[in-house]
């Protein structure tokens, strides 16, 4: 599958600073920084939202005001000044497009640089992309093909207009407004995101995909994704993120809610390479995300993530296994280099009988970075025969980084079985020597070994993403070998 050659890598390594660090000059409709009731009303008005949603947002704002940013995570950063952030930024020309020609050429150029030009995407593997740039979905492709199957895939702002009942029924059911500090903030000010509904018994014929970018300086991105898979349906959803180089920390507080109804299956893959800041740890994105899914009877949710970016990542894609026989999976690779900090993991809450969950987490730390796995497996009183397997492995490169594991296990049912194991190690000199012997230089050998280390997770990614993810791993670790 990889036509990716050494020359390609060499070229990439030369430009590896942060290849996606450019800034698109598009006129943006940005509102003044600050957060109060008026801001929330303004966002809601700009979005032409129904009254119930405005109230819902205001309610969330009230809840948020009473909360504090939690401090338990193993990360260190300056809390953003929430009053200095502009909560809404939308490309002014980005109204609605029916075909790709109507899209602002400059914007298309941006995507070309990202290597995901719409034309290419259209021709390629049949990926429908819902592109979110600074909070407003600019274009959604393949909607017609999807519409024929009854699949709704659109920006959430549009869904609010066109399918208010669905949104109202499910919004905030998995991640309530009161859930945590960031989720409350997001509920108050979310500007856009993706909405997806797969009807009963439908198998989504293509991988759905969203590409997020943070563009405007000083704006926070608060996107909200709501994905509903009705009974016996199947969907695979890809999410990718990039942000241009900016010195100030950009702030990203997203909420993703997945609902898998009886017999449904959702596969949610993320490749995250937001700007990690420079070598001295200046700038970079603060990525504080709440992701959670709920599984009804016989349903399955599978999270796969490759985290290579962001100055600070704080993210725990979780599954509530509510229905009997439901399955939750979490596959993660988190790579940190330079001064990056990642605190990531998952929470598997077993409530139904015969529920199963698997957690595979691979952490790689290099440079001066800190990489933590934090996970919880809890087996409820009624979760008979629940089963969990957890494995978290850490790889340390260099002597200035840290790798940490903070697993929580909670068991209230005697028929459950769970296992947890974790190891921490470094790349063996013998492994590198073996590669050197066979003519593979040190840098390449590290890439090879790291890819092998992450294989279990990488193979869970859809094809196109897997290749990109492998490249990302190599790029992120460049220069980490002493």
């Amino acid at each position: 599958m990889a036509k990716y050659t050494e020359e390609d890598l060499k070229k990439e390594l030369e430009t590896q600073e942060y290849e996606y660090g450019f800034y698109t000059d598009i006129e943006s409709d940005t509102i003044a920084p600050g957060l109060n009731e008026d801001t929330v009303r303004l966002i809601s008005k700009k979005k032409n939202e129904p009254a119930w949603l405005t109230e819902w947002r205001l309610d969330a704002l009230e809840i948020w005001k009473k909360m504090k940013l939690p401090t338990w995570a193993h990360v260190n950063f300056k809390e953003p000044d929430y009053q200095a952030i502009s909560y809404y930024s939308s490309p002014t020309k980005g109204a609605k497009y029916n075909s790709i020609d109507e899209v602002d050429p400059e914007l298309l150029d941006t995507f070309k640089k990202l290597g995901i030009s719409l034309e290419e995407q259209k021709r390629l593997a049949g990926v429908a992309v819902d592109i979110v740039m600074d909070s407003t979905s600019v274009a959604t492709t393949f909607r017609k093909t999807l519409a024929e199957k009854g699949i709704i895939f659109c920006p959430i702002s549009e869904a609010i207009q066109e399918h208010p009942d669905l949104v109202r029924k499910y919004l905030g059911t998995v991640v309530p407004k009161t859930d945590n500090f960031e989720a409350a903030l997001n509920s108050a000010v979310f500007s856009d995101g993706s909405f997806c509904y797969i009807p009963k018994g439908v198998r989504c014929p293509m991988e759905l995909s969203t590409y997020f970018r943070i563009n405007q300086g000083g704006t926070g991105q608060f996107e909200r994704t709501l994905l509903i898979a009705d009974q016996d349906s199947y969907v695979s959803y890809l999410e990718g993120c990039t942000a241009p180089s900016r010195n100030e920390n950009q702030f990203h507080a997203a909420v993703v809610e997945l609902i898998a109804l009886e017999g449904a299956e959702i596969k949610y893959s993320t490749v995250q390479n937001w700007y990690p800041g420079d070598k001295e740890g200046n700038g970079g994105v603060l990525n504080l995300v709440t992701k959670r899914g709920i599984c009804e009877k016989n349903a399955k949710i599978s999270w796969t993530q490759v985290e290579t970016g962001s100055a600070v990542t704080w993210k725990y894609p979780s599954c509530i296994l509510k229905g009997d026989n439901s399955v939750g999976e979490f596959y993660s690779i988190a790579v940190t280099n330079n001064h990056q900090q990642a605190d990531t993991g998952t929470k598997m809450t077993h409530l139904g009988k015969n529920t199963r969950s698997t957690i595979i987490s691979k952490g790689i730390s290099a440079g001066y970075s800190q990489n933590s796995y934090r996970g919880e497996v809890s087996i409820g009183r009624n979760a008979d025969n629940a089963r969990n397997f957890t494995q978290c492995d850490s790889l340390l490169m260099g002597n200035n980084c840290g790798a940490h594991t903070f697993p929580y296990v909670e068991l209230k049912n005697p028929t459950a079985q769970l296992e947890h194991e974790a190891t921490t190690s470094k790349i063996g000199e013998d492994q590198i020597f073996y590669c050197n012997q066979r003519g593979i230089d040190e840098e390449k050998a590290i890439a090879l070994i790291v890819n092998g280390f992450g294989k279990e997770v990488l193979k869970k990614l859809p094809m196109e993403f897997a290749i990109e993810a492998q490249k990302l791993l190599e790029i992120s670790l460049e220069g980490s070998v002493g």
Partner: protein, 445 residues
């Protein structure tokens, strides 16, 4: 008046009568720390699964009024059968000399604090080592409380090149003459170069009145030392124990083993803290926990690897029946300098009823790259096939289960180096599991 206020006011009252000795400053510091922090609550990460509320609500008597007496017969059931040992007996916080065999030879000392402080040499040692172990985290509140209040305990000092010939047994009794009693004994174990010692510690109440024991043990191990410490926790279901053990290994090539056997008690919290301040050390914490009823046991361990080339092992087995609650919260911290660390943490648990709860939190925090650190945690049930196998060979179900439970604990029991103690623990396990079996011989047959 809640317990905290009561403690603080009674501290200040009694302070007038206490001499302004070398420990005065330590006591003052400790009580002001406790005054500032108070008792921990469930909102704190390390106390997440253990609520102290049920034990703090009692109106504890802090200083038992009269000295109660016990006879040889009273204490006999709690001694390790057939074991020849140096015995130190305390009743309601007071040292009872006529039941004990304190010893002071050229090579070692094992006696009570009150006696040791009368000897010039020992007094100097106590002043040097008492309350000097500082773990990485800021001071512990229960340790501070103990430092402020403690008046009695055991002082063990082993001279260079000495091996204590018999195990030392420490027995702390509460007679239950008071409605509720708070005891705060203290043990200080100082082991000099090339010395070895084995110690068995036990806290026991003799009737159903509430007792809370807040015990602190400090172990200071120099070069080439071997310290083997056993804690037997098989108290009445009305007694609670906060047991704090601090280990400081400051000389190369020392090994410290702490085994904790938790079968009894209402609420037991074991805080084990080890600092590895030299190289080629071994720190091993192991435990077997078998609970029933409403019992609660929380093992909280912390091993700090401060120097390279060290190893640490933790192995805890838990079996929980009825509504009991077992917690294992382990923490390994490897500093940047501590290369070649071999750290291992394991917590295996079996739930035997559908109301029992098990929590496990094996944590690793690692800043050095050339290390081998791993942890494992399993929770599950007994293998039904194996159970069937035993039954099909004529072993009754209950006994078959007990046999499997026993086998489950062998990795901990096998490292008990005092045969008499192992037999005693085997006995506790079989009675706790409701069978009459002598596991060792059963297994041999």
């Amino acid at each position: 008046m809640d317990l905290k206020e009561k403690l603080i006011s009674s501290y200040h009252q009694t302070q007038k009568d206490r001499p302004k000795d070398a420990f005065h400053a330590l006591r003052e510091k400790a009580i002001s720390y406790f005054e500032e922090k108070g008792f921990p609550n469930k909102k704190e990460e390390t106390w997440r699964y253990t609520s102290l509320r049920p034990i703090l609500k009692e109106d504890y008597q802090l200083f038992p009024k009269n000295e109660n007496t016990l006879t040889q017969q009273d204490i006999a059931p709690y001694l390790t059968k057939g074991l020849d040992s140096y015995l130190l007996v305390y009743v309601d916080g007071h040292f009872v000399e006529n039941l004990s065999q304190p010893i002071k030879t050229k090579t070692f000392t094992a006696t009570s604090f009150s006696k040791a402080l009368q000897e010039k040499e020992d007094k100097a040692r106590i002043e040097k080592y008492f309350d000097q172990i500082a773990p990485k985290e800021d001071r512990d509140r229960f340790r501070s409380l103990n430092t402020a209040f403690t008046q009695e305990g055991t002082f063990i000092h082993v001279e260079r090149n000495a091996v204590v010939d018999k195990p030392i047994q420490l027995l702390y009794f509460s007679t239950g003459k008071e409605d509720a009693l708070l005891l705060q004994p203290r043990n200080l174990v100082v082991v000099e170069n090339n010395a070895q010692v084995k110690i068995i510690e036990r806290h026991q109440s003799l009737n159903e009145n509430a007792t809370l024991t807040n015990a602190v043990t400090e172990i200071i191990a120099a070069e080439h030392t071997l310290v083997d410490y056993y804690k037997i926790q098989n108290d009445k279901y009305t007694s609670s124990l906060i047991d704090n053990t601090f280990v400081d290994q400051h000389g190369n090539d020392s090994a410290v083993f702490v085994h904790t056997f938790s079968f009894g008690g209402k609420l037991t919290r074991n805080n084990l803290r080890a600092s590895q301040n030299a190289e080629h050390l071994n720190t091993t914490f192991k435990g077997v926990t078998i609970l029933e009823g409403n019992q609660h046991v929380d093992h909280n361990t912390f091993v700090h690897h401060l120097q390279p080339n060290n190893e640490s092992h933790q192995d805890y087995k838990g079996m929980f029946d009825d509504r009991s609650h077992g917690v294992f919260d382990g923490y390994i911290l490897v500093d940047r300098i501590a290369q070649k660390t071999d750290g291992y943490q394991k917590s295996d648990n079996i739930l035997m009823s559908d109301r029992a709860i098990a929590h496990a939190k094996p944590q690793l925090e690692i800043y050095a790259d050339d290390v081998l650190c791993s942890h494992g945690c399993t929770i599950g049930q007994m293998d039904k096939e194996a159970l069937f196998y035993l039954q099909s060979r004529g072993v009754p179900k209950k006994e078959a289960k007990a046999l499997m439970m026993y086998a489950f604990c062998t990795s901990v029991l096998s490292s008990v180096t005092i045969p008499e103690l192992k037999a005693q623990i085997d006995g506790y396990i079989s009675s706790k599991l409701g069978v009459k079996m002598d596991f060792d011989s059963e297994l041999i047959d």
